[in-house]
């Protein structure tokens, strides 16, 4: 059939007009700034490889906590409804897609969705990209999970950016202390890390600290597969041949579980035990697939290491009952970030009034608040970075209950692991960690 030019043009115009009409009808309308609800932007991975082990548990924790806060069902000191009496409304965004997309989404959240605060970001790359934009748009932004130690080196004088979880330095300083205390005969160590900033920084921080604590230690192999490689046969052979006394890995999510599965099936970890800084997310799934004695971390006192307190007594069973799985560390860190915003707003806001951005940032700077992981002090990076201890333990599987747990747990106080404000982690470790207060 031949189509004449005028009719094709008309059809084109009609389609264009329809497209405009349809997009106008379905586009999220720019909301009024004040609808009587405290609007919270939540950004976490809802798709991609980080969704299952990190993003979705964090999103689930956010939903559970916000519902409970709106119902006034949390234990004290969070038993006042919503945030400062205002009902909380969430706008949940997928973190997948890279830093450029996330900057666009962040601007959209702030300028079109008119959120009062944003909580989000698992990826360190996304945190580094968002922090300057948060300062530019003057929006209280709480980074709940990302581990980069460069966050407050990039934004040197933060006003609106906060991190209520720990960075990756403390994980590795704590792990180096744990292995030197529990394995005094350790002579050699090997490494397998995902080949990007988190993996590289984790290994650097660990080996720098370990060499300081145990100068005679030898590095016998370093393996650098790419993120999401999935197959680690050759790396496992290389680690087997190296015969290290310990393998260190900051692998996370599916990569970590695949490495454990393949390495265990080949008996690697019977000869060279492994220490996993992000092992907490695998404990429920490991069962008898990995040997007992694997050193497990949760990037802080979260997940399986969370202490008993009224908030944890509320959170852990609620989450487990509702989502049919244990809350792992990303879930704990999400709750922590939401409670930090609530505590900040209620500390400085007028009673039962909508908290302003200034209320949130003034309240959060230097705040001490309670969370399911214990007491959190915003005491680093000028009051913008959380300070907490870190725990490590060893995996133990019980064939009777078919459940894994951790034993031989050791906890390290923040004062033992963190450099003083204004000193970079690398400089502090190289200088011999002056001022570290360990028991």
């Amino acid at each position: 059939m031949r189509v004449s030019r005028p009719s094709a043009r008309k059809a084109g115009l009609a389609i264009a007009a329809m497209s405009v009409a349809v997009s106008a009808a379905f586009a999220p309308a720019a909301q009024a700034a004040d609808n009587g609800k405290f609007r919270l932007g939540i950004v976490t991975f809802l798709s991609g490889s980080a969704a299952g082990p990190f993003g979705v548990p964090a999103a689930n924790a956010a939903k559970l906590t916000v519902e409970a806060l709106n119902a006034g069902a949390l234990p004290a000191p969070y038993n006042k409804k919503g945030i400062n009496g205002m009902e909380i409304e969430t706008v949940i965004i997928d973190e997948n897609g890279g830093a450029t997309k996330q900057v666009e989404e962040f601007r959209n959240l702030v300028q079109r969705q008119k959120v009062d605060a944003v909580i989000g970001y698992i990826s360190s790359g996304d945190c580094l990209a968002i922090a300057p934009v948060a300062e530019e748009l003057k929006t209280p932004t709480v980074f709940f999970d990302c581990g980069t130690s460069r966050l407050f080196e990039t934004v040197k004088s933060p006003k609106y950016s906060f991190r209520t979880g720990l960075d990756a330095v403390v994980d590795n300083v704590a792990l180096a202390r744990y292995v030197t205390e529990t394995r005094p005969n350790l002579k050699s160590v090997a490494s397998i890390q995902q080949n990007y900033s988190f993996g590289q920084d984790s290994w650097n921080d660990f080996i720098l600290t370990l060499k300081h604590l145990k100068p005679e230690i030898k590095v016998v192999s370093e393996q650098w597969p790419k993120v999401m490689q999935g197959q680690y046969g050759a790396e496992i052979s290389a680690l087997s041949v190296a015969k290290a006394d310990l393998v260190h890995s900051s692998f996370w999510g599916g990569d970590m579980e695949a490495l454990m599965l393949q390495g265990s099936a080949r008996g690697l970890f019977d000869k060279s035990p492994i220490a996993l800084t992000c092992g907490d997310t695998g404990v429920e799934d490991f069962k008898d697939k990995v040997p007992n004695g694997v050193i497990i971390g949760a990037r802080g006192p979260y997940g399986i290491f969370a202490p008993q307190n009224p908030l944890n007594d509320w959170f852990r069973p609620k989450f487990t009952a509702q989502f049919k799985e244990w809350p792992t560390y990303p879930a704990y860190k999400m709750v922590q970030a939401i409670l930090a915003v609530k505590a900040s707003a209620e500390k400085t806001g007028k009673p039962n009034a909508m908290p302003t951005a200034d209320n949130v940032i003034q309240g959060m700077k230097g705040l001490t608040f309670e969370a399911p992981s214990g007491t959190v002090r915003m005491a680093s990076a000028g009051g913008h970075q959380a300070v907490q201890g870190v725990s490590y333990g060893e995996y133990q599987y019980d064939p009777k209950t078919k459940k894994g747990s951790v034993t031989k747990v050791k906890s390290y106080a923040a004062e033992c692991l963190m450099p003083p404000d204004g000193t970079t982690a690398a400089d502090w470790i190289k200088a011999g960690m002056p001022g570290a207060k360990c028991k």
Binding site: S49, G52, K226, G230, Q231, A234, S237, K289
Partner: protein
């Protein structure tokens, strides 16, 4: 000595996995001239089907032998590949026949994105495990330090069998000869009475079944998570481009070259591991732009 042995075995194991992933891709391109980006999704669907079926099998209280799980792996991969391949070919690609190769890349890329979302819709974003078949075959020790999972060694045998079967089917059977006629000259084959439409449909389904088979056989060794299909398609393309698009022998040679080179890098210079696959690709294409076994086709007038 241990290191050299490990390099060879690891290289073979990785190459066999690469070949399994790339075989379906190269079969489809060889016959249909479609660079099928959705092949990664077939791999993911095979992996998810296998992981959920094997998980269900081992979670049951039955007394059946665990070795039946291997039959489940193979069976569900073949069924999943058959169903998805048939739906895609008959529901979409049938209407796109004869289109430009570049357009088909875009079409199959769109299909990849759709199938990725469909996979998430069906299986969610939580990881799936089907580890029992991986451990069931035990391990073989080599010296005091090195041991290999027998499952991985079995995969080498499976990939050799798949390669031989593909070669035999193409070169020693009547249907294979007809297929080669279609590959050589579609118009003349049609004129001689070959039902090219049926040939294309069958080829695509075989290719998708091979993709799903690769996913299902890999599932026991990995954590099956969203995104595995996209990760694998890049590697599969690297292998078929190095070997020469559309050649089964080329895919095997490309997989072996990439597998062994990567294994050398992991054992001797791990810091260049990320680069080495693309380094091999660059070197091969610099010398032979059509790939190791690729043929330069005469342009029809």
């Amino acid at each position: 000595m241990n290191t050299l042995f490990a390099i060879l075995i690891d290289g073979m194991i990785y190459a066999s996995w690469l070949f399994l992933v790339a075989a379906g891709l190269t079969v489809i391109y060889g016959v249909m001239r479609i660079l099928n980006m959705a092949h990664g999704s077939f791999y993911a669907i095979g992996a998810y089907s296998a992981a959920s079926l094997v998980g269900w099998y081992f979670n049951g209280d039955g007394d059946s032998s665990p070795y039946w799980s291997y039959a489940l792996l193979l069976g569900c991969a073949l069924v999943a590949g058959l169903v998805v391949g048939l739906v895609v070919e008959q529901g979409l690609l049938r209407f796109m026949r004869g289109r430009d190769e570049t357009l088909m890349v875009i079409v199959t890329y769109a299909l990849l994105l759709i199938l990725e979302d469909a996979t998430k819709l069906l299986w969610g974003v939580d990881p799936y495990f089907a580890y029992q078949p991986y451990r069931l075959l035990g391990q073989s020790a080599v010296g005091d330090a090195l041991s290999f999972a027998n499952y991985d060694l079995a995969l080498v045998v499976v990939s050799i069998l798949v390669g031989l079967a593909a070669w035999y089917a193409l070169n020693r059977t009547n249907k294979g000869r007809l297929l080669r006629a279609v590959i050589h000259d579609r118009e003349v084959a049609m004129a001689m009475g070959v039902n090219v439409n049926v040939m294309f449909a069958v080829t695509f389904v075989i290719g998708s079944m091979l993709g799903a088979l690769a996913g299902a056989l890999t599932a026991p060794a990995i954590s099956v998570t969203p995104g595995i299909g996209i990760e694998v398609i890049v590697l599969a393309f690297a292998v078929v481009v190095v070997g020469g698009l559309g050649s089964i022998g080329g895919a095997a040679a490309g997989a072996l070259l990439v597998g062994l080179t990567r294994s050398f890098a992991v054992h001797l210079a791990p810091e260049i591991e990320l680069f080495v696959i693309y380094g091999v690709m660059f070197l091969v294409l610099a010398v032979r732009p059509q790939g190791m076994f690729g043929q330069i086709l005469a342009r029809k007038i």
